[in-house]
C-alpha cells in the first residue's frame, strides 16, 4: 500500500475506535444518572478545546496532503509519453496519439507498450465514447494512481514505475455491462533493457 494510504487507513481505524469508545462511555453514563445535577455545562466546557484540536488536525491534514496532489505542474516534463484511449470495453495504449476507432482497435489488440522503470511516464488519457477510469495496478493488486478518461478531454497522469513487470489498467468508472472486464496492459522494463530494445528496433 502507498505510504499515504496506509497512514490514512491507520488514522481511520484509530478515530473509528475512539468514536466507538466515546459513545460507549457516554451511553453507559446514562445507567447511573446524576439526580438533580446538570452535567451538560461541565461537558460543554470541553467544546472549545475539542474545536481547537479538530481544527489543528484538519489544518495538519491540509498541510501534509496538499503538497502531494497528483496534478502535473506546468514545469513538469516527462521522460516518456504514452497515449491512452478508452472505449467500451478496452484501453488502447500507444506512444503515438490514438484518434480513430481503427487505430484504437489495432492498439487494443497489439502487444503491450513498453516503458522504462524509474522514469516519469506521462499518460495522456482520453476516451472515444463514454467516461472510463484509467488506473494502473501492479502485479500484486496495488493501485499506483488513476485519472478519468473523458470524451473530448485529455487528462495528464504522471507515474513512475519502480519495478519492471506487467501493469494492468482497470476501469474505475461505470461504463456499461462489461465495465468490470475492461482493461489494458503496459510492460515496464529495466531502463538499460529499454534503451537496448529501442536500438534494436532502429
Amino acid at each position: 500500500m502507498a505510504p499515504i494510504n496506509a497512514v490514512a487507513v491507520a488514522i481511520f481505524i484509530f478515530f473509528a475506535l475512539l468514536i466507538f469508545g466515546v459513545y460507549a462511555f457516554f451511553i453507559s453514563s446514562t445507567r447511573k444518572p446524576a439526580v438533580g445535577e446538570d452535567y451538560y455545562k461541565s461537558v460543554a466546557k470541553l467544546r472549545a478545546p475539542f474545536f481547537v484540536i479538530l481544527l489543528l488536525l484538519l489544518i495538519a491534514g491540509l498541510v501534509l496532503t496538499l503538497p502531494k496532489i497528483p496534478y502535473p505542474s506546468k514545469g513538469k516534463f516527462p521522460d516518456a509519453v504514452v497515449y491512452v484511449a478508452g472505449k467500451q470495453f478496452n484501453f488502447a495504449l500507444d506512444t503515438q496519439p490514438i484518434e480513430s476507432e481503427e487505430r484504437w482497435k489495432e492498439r487494443a489488440e497489439a502487444e503491450p507498450v513498453q516503458v522504462p522503470a524509474g522514469k516519469w511516464i506521462e499518460f495522456r488519457v482520453t476516451s472515444l465514447d463514454v467516461n472510463h477510469g484509467f488506473s494502473l495496478y501492479d502485479e500484486n493488486g496495488k493501485l499506483l494512481g488513476q485519472t478519468q478518461a473523458m470524451p473530448g478531454y485529455v487528462n495528464r497522469l504522471f507515474i513512475k514505475f519502480d519495478k519492471p513487470g506487467f501493469y494492468t489498467a482497470y476501469c474505475m468508472e461505470l461504463c456499461g455491462n462489461s465495465h468490470h472486464a475492461m482493461k489494458g496492459v503496459i510492460e515496464v522494463v529495466e531502463e538499460g533493457t529499454f534503451g537496448a530494445k529501442i536500438l534494436n528496433q532502429q
Partner: protein
C-alpha cells in the same frame, strides 16, 4: 369561541399530518426491504454465489438500489420533518399529497426503466453513457429514467418550496436562518428544526436547479444531436447528487434536534453557536461536491483545492455543534432508551465514523488511490445506512409508538439494536478493507488479480444476514405499532 376554533384547526391539521406520515411510512415499509434486499443480492453476486448472474442485471440493480435508497430516505426524511415542523408552522397537506402522487409515478418510471429496460448507467447516469450503452439497454429505457427523475424533481421542488413558504409565513428569511442570533438577539425564539429545515430546503433548491440544467442538456442532445460538455455534465450531476445526499443527512439531524430532548427532558435550543454552524454548512455544502471530480485532472486546480478545504471544514460544525451537543445532552442523564431513541442517537455515531472516513477520502492525495474503490461505498454507507437511515427509522418507531401507545419491549429493542450494529458495522468493515486493498467499486465480478473483492463480498454476506435479521425485527416491532396508529 376564537380559541375553540384555533384548537379545532390545530386538531384537524394534526390529524391530516398524521395521516400523511402514516401513508408515506407505509411506502417506506414496502420499498426499504426491497431495495435493501437488492443491495444484499449485489454482494451475493460479487461474492460469486451466482456465477451465471448476467452482469447487465447487476448494473440495473445497482442503479435501482442507488437511486431508490437516496430518494426513499429523502422523501421519508421530508415527511418526518413535516410532521415535526407542524408543531410550529403549517406546510400544505395538499402539496404533500401532490408530491406523494408524483413520487409514485416517478418511482414507477424508474422501476420500469431499470427492470424492464435494463437501464444500468448507475444512479448518476454519467453523460454520455445513458444513450451509449453498447446496445445493452434501449434508448427508451434512458428516456423513462430521465423522465422519472424529472417527475421526482418537479414533485420535490414544489414540496421544498411549500415548506419554505410555510416557514416564511411565520419567520422572515434572516430569522429562519437565525441571523438575529448572530447579531446577539434571542427574540423571536427559533426552534433549531426551523433553521435546519430552512438550510436544507435552500440547499435542495440549488441541487434541483442543477438537475434541471442537466436534464435540459440531455434533452437537447437527444433532440438535436448536439453533444453536451461531459465535464460540465459531471459537475452538474455530482452537485445535484452530493447536495441531495447531504440534505437528506440534515433531515435526519433535524429529527435528532426535535426528538432527542423528548427522551432526555432537556431542551435543545438555538443559540449563536448553532446559528453559526448551520449557516456555515449552507455555505460549504455548495463547494464540497468538487471532491467527486478530483480525478478529472482537467478541472481547474483551484476548484479541486477548494473542494478539499470545503470537505474538511464542513465536518467542524457537525462534530463540534451537533454531535458534541448530542453527547453532552445524555451525559449522566436519565434517558428513556427505546428502540426509537436508541436508533436516532446511534445515527449520530454513524455520521461521526462515516465523516472521518469521508474527510480522509476528501484529501486529494489519498483519493488518488481510493477514488472509486470500495472505500467510497464504505464511507457513504456509514453515514447513510448507519447514520441518517437509523435516525429516520428511529423517528418512524418514535412516531408509531407515540400514536399506538404500545409500550417499548426494551429487551427485544436492545437485541435488535445490537444486531443492527454488529451486522451493519461488520458489513461496512468489508467495504473498508476492500478500499484499503484498492478493490474497485461497481464491479459485477472481480477479475482474478482482484479476487480479494470476491472473498470480502463472501464474508460480508454473514454480516448482511445479521443486519437483515436486525432490520426484520425492527420492522416487526414498528409495523405492529404503525398499524395500530391509524
Amino acid at each position: 369561541m376564537a380559541e375553540i376554533a384555533i384548537k379545532a384547526e390545530a386538531v384537524e391539521i394534526e390529524a391530516k399530518v398524521k395521516k400523511l406520515t402514516l401513508v408515506w411510512t407505509g411506502l417506506t415499509f414496502i420499498l426499504f426491504p426491497i431495495l435493501g434486499l437488492l443491495g444484499f443480492l449485489m454482494r451475493l453476486v460479487q461474492g460469486n454465489v451466482f456465477p451465471m448472474f448476467p452482469p447487465e442485471w447487476f448494473y440495473s440493480i445497482l442503479t435501482l438500489h442507488g437511486v431508490g435508497m437516496v430518494g426513499l430516505w429523502f422523501v421519508e426524511g421530508m415527511i418526518a420533518v413535516i410532521y415535526l415542523l407542524s408543531k410550529y408552522v403549517k406546510p400544505s397537506a395538499g402539496v404533500s399529497w401532490f408530491s406523494f402522487t408524483f413520487t409514485l409515478i416517478g418511482v414507477a418510471l424508474i422501476i420500469i426503466s431499470t427492470i424492464a429496460g435494463k437501464f444500468g448507467a448507475g444512479w448518476y447516469f454519467l453523460y454520455p453513457l445513458p444513450y451509449k450503452s453498447a446496445e445493452i439497454w434501449p434508448n427508451w429505457a434512458t428516456d423513462l429514467y430521465l423522465i422519472g427523475l424529472g417527475v421526482l424533481g418537479i414533485a420535490w421542488t414544489v414540496w421544498v418550496i411549500d415548506v419554505l413558504r410555510a416557514i416564511a409565513k411565520k419567520y422572515t428569511l434572516n430569522q429562519a436562518l437565525a441571523w438575529h442570533y448572530l447579531a446577539g438577539k434571542t427574540e423571536p425564539e427559533l426552534p433549531p428544526i426551523i433553521l435546519i429545515v430552512t438550510v436544507t430546503c435552500i440547499g435542495a433548491i440549488t441541487g434541483f436547479l442543477a438537475a434541471v440544467a442537466l436534464l435540459l442538456l440531455f434533452l437537447f442532445d437527444r433532440v438535436s444531436g448536439t453533444p453536451a460538455d461531459p465535464l460540465l455534465m459531471k459537475n452538474l450531476v455530482f452537485y445535484f447528487g452530493h447536495v441531495l445526499v447531504n440534505i437528506t443527512m440534515y433531515l435526519g439531524v433535524a429529527i435528532l434536534y426535535e426528538t432527542l430532548p423528548q427522551y432526555t427532558q432537556k431542551p435543545w435550543k438555538t443559540n449563536k453557536l448553532v446559528a453559526f454552524a448551520w449557516n456555515t454548512v449552507l455555505f460549504l455544502v455548495l463547494f464540497a461536491y468538487f471532491h467527486h471530480l478530483y480525478m478529472d485532472f482537467v478541472q481547474p486546480k483551484a476548484f479541486q483545492i477548494i473542494g478539499q478545504f470545503a470537505s474538511y471544514f464542513i465536518s467542524v460544525p457537525a462534530a463540534v455543534v451537533t454531535i458534541f451537543s448530542a453527547l453532552a445532552m445524555i451525559y449522566k442523564t436519565k434517558v428513556n432508551w427505546t428502540l426509537g431513541s436508541s436508533l436516532i442517537f446511534l445515527g449520530t455515531m454513524g455520521w461521526a465514523v462515516g465523516g472521518v472516513a469521508a474527510v480522509i477520502d476528501s484529501s486529494i492525495a489519498v483519493n488518488f488511490r481510493f477514488h472509486n474503490t470500495l472505500w467510497v461505498p464504505a464511507h457513504f454507507h456509514t453515514y447513510f445506512l448507519m447514520g441518517v437511515v437509523l435516525m429516520i427509522l428511529g423517528f418512524i418507531y418514535h412516531f408509531s409508538q407515540l400514536h399506538s401507545n404500545i409500550p417499548d419491549n426494551s429487551k427485544l429493542a436492545k437485541f435488535t439494536v445490537w444486531l443492527i450494529l454488529i451486522g451493519g458495522y461488520g458489513f461496512l468493515s468489508m467495504f473498508y478493507t476492500g478500499g484499503a486493498l484498492f478493490v474497485p467499486r461497481r464491479y459485477a465480478l472481480y477479475p482474478p488479480a482482484l479476487s480479494s473483492g470476491t472473498t470480502l463480498a463472501q464474508i460480508s454476506i454473514v454480516f448482511v444476514s445479521i443486519l437483515t435479521i436486525g432490520f426484520l425485527l425492527y420492522l416487526i416491532q414498528t409495523i405492529r405499532r404503525w398499524a395500530r396508529s391509524f
